[in-house]
């Protein structure tokens, strides 16, 4: 066993994995499941999973609202992608949608009920200056007009500094690869773009295997796992859709460890269909599990120590020590943003 991992977030995970379990929830458990789902951005997902099942009347109303909010998010995300497409069409460079926008554009199960924030796209590195100019010409502007941030992004990050559209208030993140160049892992960005799948309107999405690899890299090799439960749910859905030669492809990108961890945890938390080899969790998975489920029935973040550990780790992953020290020093001097 992996130690005590039952929490209110665990209750939500159980219902998502097996919607029939909802039948056993009492009023207090429903309140907890709803609050955790809100806090973890999984309300729309929960609503889709429970569609058609008998639930108490107030829950049914809440789920209907969540479904509608997700439908609105889907529409907005698709429209933003269309605006990006129109802006970049004259360039003729391959534009690959990533994350939530890609899931809804390709009609994947991971997109059902999903909240979608920014519009993430991947373009060839050499196309970056033209893409940047085209977006700015079409009404996007820098979200952070700050010299340090700009220099930092351009030098050390895998994306342009975020751009926001002045009329629609929506952010676009332009990536040229899926992990920062400073990270110790260097995925094969050219292969990601070359093997992307066309959607028919000129836009692309990653190949099935690369979608899983990107989601796993994002979850385990990049951030501090905040919002991680939602990301792990994405992975569970993507695994269900199937991907040929996933392990070989993951190894090609140097992300074999992250992808196998993703498979083990997606199985453990959400009952994802994975090969037998990944049905047994490892001792090293335990802290991830603790972090992913660190939420109580009032929607509060719990397990402060674990959270702090992953926060420090996220910086460690992104940067060599000397650069990290410099980054933290500059951030600290500037004070909290």
């Amino acid at each position: 066993m992996l130690g005590r991992a039952v929490s209110d977030a665990g209750l939500l995970a159980g219902v998502l994995a097996d919607p029939e379990r909802a039948a056993a929830l009492d009023a207090g458990s429903w309140a907890a499941v709803m609050a955790v789902a809100r806090a973890e951005q999984l309300a729309g997902t929960l609503a889709h999973r429970l569609a058609g099942l008998p639930v108490p009347e107030p829950v049914a109303r809440w789920l209907a609202d969540a479904r509608e909010a997700a439908e609105q998010a889907r529409r907005t995300a698709l429209w933003e992608a269309e605006m990006v497409r129109r802006a970049l069409a004259p360039l003729g460079c391959r534009t690959v949608l990533l994350k939530g926008t890609a899931y809804v554009a390709a009609g994947l199960s991971a997109g059902q009920g999903r909240q979608i924030g920014d519009c993430d796209i991947l373009v060839p590195r050499e196309a970056l200056p033209a893409v940047e100019a085209a977006l700015i010409g079409a009404g996007w502007e820098w979200a952070k007009p700050d010299a340090y941030d700009n220099a930092y992004y351009r030098r050390w990050m895998h994306e342009l500094p975020p751009l926001i559209h002045e009329g629609r208030d929506r952010m676009v993140d332009v990536h040229h690869t899926i992990l920062p160049p400073t990270a110790r892992i260097t995925p094969d960005a050219e292969a990601l773009i070359a093997d992307a799948v066309p959607l028919g309107d000129g836009l692309h999405v990653l190949s099935p295997a690369d979608r899983i690899i990107h989601a796993a890299a994002h979850l385990f090799a990049d951030g501090d796992l905040s919002g991680g439960l939602r990301n792990l749910w994405d992975i569970r859905c993507l695994l269900d859709d199937g991907a040929a030669a996933l392990e070989v492809r993951a190894a090609q990108h140097g992300l074999g460890r992250e992808v196998t961890r993703a498979m083990r945890l997606a199985h453990r938390v959400f009952g994802a269909a994975v090969p037998d080899a990944y049905r047994q969790a490892r001792a090293s998975d335990a802290p991830y599990l603790r972090r992913l489920l660190a939420r109580d029935g009032w929607g509060r973040a719990t397990r402060r120590g674990t959270r702090l550990g992953f926060y420090v780790r996220s910086h460690w992953l992104r940067m060599p020590p000397a650069l990290l020290a410099r980054h933290l020093w500059i951030k600290w001097r500037r004070g909290p943003a």
Binding site: W142, A143, I164
Partner: protein
């Protein structure tokens, strides 16, 4: 109003149609109103600028402290109420006419992701 898509109203035949002057506007888009999010104005605050040890130039941009002609950052953030009054033609507390203008320009330039942006957005009416 019905829920069904409808054809645009058919213009009367040979009606006079004006194109409007260059520079005039014929399209106003309704934006989400965080404004009136009851009470949000009450307690939010905006630091000017959103980092220590920087100053605000006359055009509202953030510049290093000590830049000639720039105004030092304010020690205590402004409250939503103070900013709201100033945007309506009043003055931020403890400012001169010039520094008030510079700070307000800074606030108007706040973007999503910056400290104080949500507060500022909640003070804003949508364009229109």
């Amino acid at each position: 109003m019905t829920d069904q898509p409808s054809d645009p109203p058919v213009p009367t035949r040979r009606r006079v149609l004006a194109f409007g002057a260059v520079g005039a506007s014929a399209v106003v888009s309704i934006r989400p109103a965080l404004a009136q999010t009851a009470g949000s104005v009450l307690t939010c605050q905006i630091a000017v600028p959103d980092r220590r040890g920087a100053a605000v130039a006359a055009d509202g941009s953030v510049v290093p402290a000590g830049t000639k002609g720039a105004f030092p950052g304010v020690a205590t953030p402004f409250t939503g109420e103070q900013v709201k009054r100033a945007l309506a033609g009043g003055q931020l507390p403890g400012t001169t006419w010039e520094s008030n203008q510079a700070y307000l320009k800074y606030i108007r330039r706040l973007q999503r992701g910056q400290g104080g942006f949500t507060c500022f957005a909640s003070l804003q009416m949508p364009r229109g």
